[in-house]
């Protein structure tokens, strides 16, 4: 094997310029793909992290039919205590769940005593909410990020509403809401924090304590609009999610129909489509890489066979088995792949390091100055490297096969 690789290396060095140009194409292709995967992947991970860790959580559970009419925040589709009790047992006993938080979601009117506007509010248990969406306190543009998000009698309002209503920290405001029976109630709150907005559902909601929400809505029992769940390992969301979904949808009513429904973050946020687009673009760029490697290696190998017909005739005449002739030319393609891959990986890692040192910033929706910090998983590097090597060998296959099947007499006569 080393004999064959050694001869292959020397044959490649025979046409240095052509070999270098082919290597350059492979390297450019690899760098483009790896840098794109690193940058786009990091952007995707960061945005998913922002959305799941500060608003949505990893997965959510609602009463059946709630999500279909979530825009109107229907209070008549809240989970009832009997459902909650069963669900709590399931969630507490599930080892894949790191934390979960109940929310009461409702729409109301926000008044600063001079002006009134609408607001969407989440009634939360601050400790559970912080454990489930740990980046939520970090979104506080004003207010103590290290204290509990809300205490009884406090409200956290979105930044746009604060600006529009000229509300400041410490202001007393009134929230008026209609409960599911049509009864209107109001309650005063002190503005405890102002939240930066974030793209996606719930990104411009206000927060109050869950007990205040129940009081405002005059709930006679402990109802909940949604349960937000944080998994211990987000990378296992498909497996853990399926298991939780099975457990949740296994909770049935008297008629034997599921009472609850399960959704992961991709079913709740439009950013999932952007993430899919990024994956699609990554696939497209991989296809471009495959094409570059395929065409460039095949071109160089076809030329190599054409220019060495007499040499092939000679080695065939002196008894070199066809399989070994095949190996000799496949090895040349493989060597191109190996050298191109190693150089491509080295340059890509250097590029990723340089971007991390440079720390360029970008904006996403309402979020400004996000720092681009590309990272690439060893698995992605290995996958691309394997892809290039396999394609390089495949591209060499036809010329190598042709060389191995060559008639020695015809080849020796070739001028």
């Amino acid at each position: 094997m080393f004999d064959i690789l050694g001869i292959a290396s020397r044959n490649l060095l025979r046409y240095r310029r052509r070999t270098l140009l082919t290597l350059l194409l492979i390297v450019i292709g690899m760098v483009a793909v790896l840098l794109f995967i690193a940058v786009a992947g990091s952007f995707k991970s960061m945005m998913i992290g922002q959305i799941t860790d500060s608003v949505l959580g990893h997965v959510q559970v609602h009463r059946k039919g709630y999500v279909a009419s979530i825009d109107s925040l229907p209070l008549n589709l809240n989970m009832r205590p009997n459902m909650l009790a069963k669900l709590e047992d399931e969630l507490d006993g599930n080892p894949a769940i790191a934390a979960w938080s109940p929310r009461i979601k409702f729409g109301g009117m926000y008044s600063n005593f001079a002006e009134t506007t609408s607001i969407r509010i989440n009634g939360i248990d601050p400790a559970r909410e912080a454990a489930t969406v740990p980046l939520l306190p970090g979104r506080l543009a004003e207010g103590d990020k290290h204290a509990a998000l809300v205490e009884r009698g406090q409200i956290v309002i979105p930044q746009l509403l604060a600006r529009g209503m000229k509300s400041k920290l410490g202001d007393t405001v009134v929230v008026v809401a209609t409960n599911k029976d049509g009864s209107v109630n109001g309650k005063t709150f002190v503005v405890r924090g102002i939240l930066e907005p974030i793209s996606g559902p719930g990104g411009r909601d206000g927060y109050i304590h869950i007990e205040d929400a129940r009081e405002l809505l005059r709930m006679s029992e402990e109802q909940v609009s949604e349960i937000v769940i944080r998994l211990k390992d987000f990378s296992k969301i498909e497996k853990s999610g399926a298991q939780i979904k099975g457990a949740v949808e296994g909770l049935t009513n008297k008629e034997g129909k599921p009472m609850l429904e399960f959704h992961d973050w991709t079913q709740l946020s439009p950013f999932a489509n952007i993430a899919k687009m990024i994956d699609l673009m990554t696939l497209f760029i991989k296809i471009v890489l495959v094409s570059i490697v395929l065409v460039s290696v095949m071109n160089v190998m076809i030329m190599a066979v054409f220019e060495r017909i007499r040499e092939i005739g000679t080695i065939a005449a002196i008894g070199t088995p066809p399989s070994r002739i095949l190996s000799l030319f496949l090895a040349e393609g493989l060597m191109l792949g190996i050298v191109g891959t190693l150089a491509g990986i080295a340059l890509s890692l250097a590029g990723i390091f340089a971007i991390n040192v440079w720390q360029p910033t970008f904006d996403f929706g309402m979020q400004k100055g996000l720092v681009m910090a590309p990272v690439i998983a060893a698995g992605d590097v290995l996958t691309i490297a394997a892809l290039v090597l396999v394609v390089a060998v495949i591209a060499s296959l036809q010329p190598a096969w042709k060389a191995s099947r060559m008639d020695p007499i015809g080849a020796l006569r070739h001028v």
Partner: protein, 229 residues
């Protein structure tokens, strides 16, 4: 027993719709350790005959046995194996592999065809380098040595795996007169030393005089053969 024997051997090529006979029913035998020339003008069938003896081509009809093997029975792989084990080749244009040194060119059949162990391989290559007088050129590439030296290397490569038979198609055609004689002398010396049968083709009347046995071909027929001329 003859090393090579042919009976009613014919070879016909197909050119479009026309059959072109290259060898027209010849019989001959070549004895072991002989030094034989096939002589004739261009198109007489010398190369075709050497190609068949070298298992590079199959007869159209008749029988050709090399080392008691009917070469018509060998498929592509078996023919390659047979050549690697029993036959050495010397080419008119030397056909050394340009990316390999002199040492590596001679070593090639042992390394890539027969897979000898490294120590045994080195010993044999050094022996061949000494035998052809190229020991001091071992590390040079083919483009760094003369035509005569290239043909010496080619002879060493043909002999390195101890074949029973070496076929040389016009081995002196690209060499000057003195060098051509020296190569033939070398081939004879090798024949004496290794008891290898040398069969070569030539159209040069002076060169054919160096052969101990000469077969004269004309238009695909053997018009004289087997005796000293």
């Amino acid at each position: 027993m003859s090393l090579v024997s042919a009976q009613h051997l014919t070879k016909t090529y197909r050119a479009g719709d026309i059959d072109v006979p290259a060898i027209k029913g010849i019989d001959f035998a070549i004895e072991p350790a002989s030094f034989v020339a096939f002589v004739g003008p261009s198109g007489s069938g010398k190369s075709t005959l050497l190609n068949m003896i070298g298992c590079l081509d199959h007869p159209t009809s008749g029988t050709l046995k090399v080392l008691d093997t009917d070469i018509a029975t060998l498929d592509r792989k078996a023919a390659a194996r047979f050549r690697g084990e029993h036959i050495g080749f010397v080419f008119q244009d030397f056909n050394l592999i340009p990316v390999l040194t002199v040492f590596e060119n001679i070593e090639y059949p042992l390394r890539m065809v027969q897979e000898w162990p490294a120590a045994k391989r080195r010993e044999q290559v050094l022996r061949m380098l000494e035998a052809v007088g190229m020991a001091d050129q071992a590390d040079k590439r083919p483009d760094q040595i003369s035509g005569g030296q290239k043909q010496r290397v080619a002879v060493a490569r043909a002999l390195v795996s101890n074949p029973k038979l070496v076929l040389a198609d016009e081995p002196t055609a690209n060499l000057d007169h003195d060098t051509a004689y020296r190569i033939l002398e070398l081939m004879k010396k090798m024949r004496d030393e290794f008891k290898t049968t040398f069969v070569f083709s030539t159209h040069d009347a002076k060169i054919m005089g160096e052969a101990e046995s000469t077969f004269i071909l004309e238009d695909g027929r053997l018009i004289q053969g087997g005796s000293h001329v």
